[in-house]
């Protein structure tokens, strides 16, 4: 039976080849698209985990659950104050607390370069909580904080933008919002993850940020490092309770987000993205399936006499149905295999030449092959039934 299927498919190689091209393209694009989506998800995940896996972030304003972090209205609410720091530091399980105030400013260097970058007012705790390290010079110290020093620690991207490759920025002066700051340190590169470049920022003491640069007394973020990953939910709850007390409110006017929440929101986005890409590719599979149906109908007509003979010598209707269904499934399955191979090559090429991470999972390969065979069944069934319904007497005489 399989032998016969092979013989009849190879008898018309050009036609079989052209017909399965539709399936090949469909499966290849599904595999490639899904692998790009999965790769994006993976790289976002790993970069978020790189931010510190036992990090809790307190944001002002209440975030609706499920609405994602984008709609938080961060920066508009002014409910986080310096008093909250002490309340959170005293909680059990909290290793370090990093209060932060973040704004974008225009920054210029002595040599005349200027850039627009994020300036973060932070304390010495920032380094521990956000896991950043100093490459050159020193980090912000408690003394800087107390004395409202006009010092800055530069992210590597900002350092390069302001001073170029050749000049060592250490101990040089920069102007942030027309105020002079001395560069005391350069951060080690953490790498960016596309939508947030962790190297493109400047750290200044929190007190300097609040009193001199922005003239406000609130915070935009409080980041908590939790001692143990397992304590995350407990600490999140305790922090929430503590803040309700210090803010003297019954409904939270703040949000506490863990890495898991951010991951969840982002993977929701990437999943939607992947689904969108895959469904576009899926349309080409349907078109390919129609091509298969077309070819099978032609084949059935061409082989009417053969069908008549097979019936005369004892093929039952289901034998004929099976024969043509097998041919269609063999075609689409073969197309699926080739498609998987090409899709995998495309994913590999994208990773190699476009620098986008891709990952071809076993599940997507199995699903692709299954879908290809399924298309064979769906689009092969009608032609096969048509073959089986032929009347043997008429089929034998067909010219």
């Amino acid at each position: 039976m399989i032998e016969e299927t092979r013989v009849s498919l190879t008898a018309n190689k050009a036609r079989s080849g052209l017909t399965i091209l539709g399936i090949v393209i469909g499966i290849a694009s599904v595999i490639a698209m899904v692998s790009i989506g999965e790769g994006a998800k993976g790289s976002i995940q790993s970069s978020i985990e790189g931010l510190g896996s036992n990090l809790l972030t307190v944001l002002p304003g209440f975030v609706q659950p499920g609405r994602g972090i984008v709609s938080s209205g961060r920066g508009t609410a002014q409910t986080l104050k310096n008093e909250d720091i002490d309340a959170l530091s005293s909680l059990e399980g909290v290793k370090a607390v990093s209060p932060e105030l973040q704004r974008r400013f225009q920054i210029t260097s002595q040599i005349g370069n200027n850039t627009n970058s994020t300036v973060v007012g932070a304390t010495d705790q920032y380094a521990a909580v956000r896991t950043v390290e100093v490459e050159n010079g020193v980090f912000l110290s408690p003394t800087h904080e107390r004395s409202m020093s006009r010092v800055a620690v530069l992210g590597p991207t900002v350092a390069k933008d302001l001073f170029g490759e050749d000049i060592d920025p250490l101990n040089k002066t920069i102007r942030i919002n027309k105020v002079n700051f001395k560069v005391v340190g350069i951060l080690k590169s953490k790498g960016g993850s596309g939508f947030m470049n962790l190297d493109d920022m400047i750290l200044v003491p929190l007190s300097t940020m609040q009193k001199i640069l922005s003239g406000v007394d609130y915070l935009s973020t409080i980041a908590l490092a939790v001692e143990d990953k397992n304590q995350m939910p407990a600490v999140q709850e305790a922090a929430s309770a503590a803040l309700l007390v210090t803010h003297r409110v019954s409904e939270p006017d703040f949000s506490i987000i863990s890495q898991a929440d951010i991951l969840g929101a982002l993977s929701q986005v990437t999943t939607t993205f992947t689904l969108f890409l895959a469904s576009i590719a899926g349309i080409s599979l349907i078109v390919g399936g129609i091509g298969i149906m077309n070819m099978m109908l032609t084949t059935v007509t061409e082989r009417t006499r053969e069908i008549g003979l097979r019936m005369a010598i004892g093929a039952r209707r289901r034998d004929i149905t099976w024969q043509f269904l097998m041919e269609a499934v063999m075609l689409t399955f073969l197309g699926g295999l080739i498609g998987v191979l090409i899709g995998w090559l495309i994913a590999f090429a994208v990773a190699r030449f476009a620098g986008i991470a891709t990952s071809v999972s076993w599940q997507s390969v199995l699903i692709a092959c299954g879908v290809a065979a399924g298309i064979g069944i769906v689009f092969g069934y009608y032609p096969a039934r048509r073959a089986a319904r032929l009347n043997p007497i008429d089929a034998l005489r067909y010219e």
Partner: protein, 238 residues
């Protein structure tokens, strides 16, 4: 062996009823070699289709080897054809892309016979049809008409049928090659006691049988034993 009792076949197209067969009764004994003749449109093809279990009569009974097959469904008829009937057609009906051996073994595929046994039995059938062994792995289009028809005869023999039904087997062949085919059929009848029904419109061909059934306008008009039976010349196998 074959028993047709008052068989009628009516084709209905709209309001008009066309009688292809009217009350045909016929019996063929085991080991008999008969021919059915008649002009085109006489109903001999319809009769052949019913005898060959490709069609069922509108009325009447048809018993094949003692089994009433006149009211069976299409799958059961397929099984009867597979087990009890061997067909030989005017236009050979060989699969173009299969070798001689695989063509002959084809009916056994539908009888669920294992592959090694299929090939064994196909080889035996080819020998019985006097088909030379050096062509067993050739494709049909590499063979002459007479050779192709002998492949078809071997295919008809492979399932060891009760009945061989040959529909104008010499119609596409010249006289000389046709004689070889008729000789093959006569040998199968004589040496293996095969029951053969030969459908033809040529009286010359029909006279190679023991008995000639004449069909006209849907009825049997003659059932005559052949007095001087022709014996085909074997032109030393083509």
């Amino acid at each position: 062996m074959i028993e047709c009792r008052n068989i009628e076949k009516v084709y209905q197209s709209g309001e008009v009823e066309t009688y292809a067969l009217r009350s045909v009764s016929l019996s063929v004994a085991d080991g008999e070699f008969i021919s059915i003749t008649g002009p085109s449109g006489s109903g001999k093809s319809t009769l052949m289709n019913i005898i060959g279990c490709l069609d069922t009569p509108t009325k009447g009974e048809y018993l094949l080897g003692g089994e009433n097959v006149s009211e069976l469904g299409s799958d059961e008829l397929a099984e009867i054809r597979n087990r009890k009937i061997g067909f030989v057609f005017q236009s050979f009906h060989l699969l173009r892309r299969a070798t001689v051996l695989r063509n002959v073994a084809l009916p056994l595929v539908y009888a669920s016979v294992a592959k090694s046994e299929r090939l064994e039995r196909a080889a035996a059938a080819l020998r019985a049809a006097a088909f030379p062994e050096q062509f067993w792995n050739h494709l049909p289009n590499q063979l002459s008409g007479g050779m192709m028809q002998r492949v078809a005869i071997a295919r008809a023999l492979v399932n060891d049928p009760l009945l061989i039904l040959a529909d104008e087997p010499t119609g596409n062949l010249d006289t000389k090659t046709g004689d070889v085919i008729l000789d093959t059929l006569q040998r199968l009848h004589r040496d293996e006691a095969r029951t053969i029904i030969l459908i033809t419109h040529e009286s010359y061909v029909a006279e190679h049988a023991q008995r000639v059934i004449q069909v006209r306008d849907g009825s049997i008009v003659g059932d005559i034993p052949v007095k001087e039976r022709r014996i085909a010349n074997n032109h030393d196998h083509v």
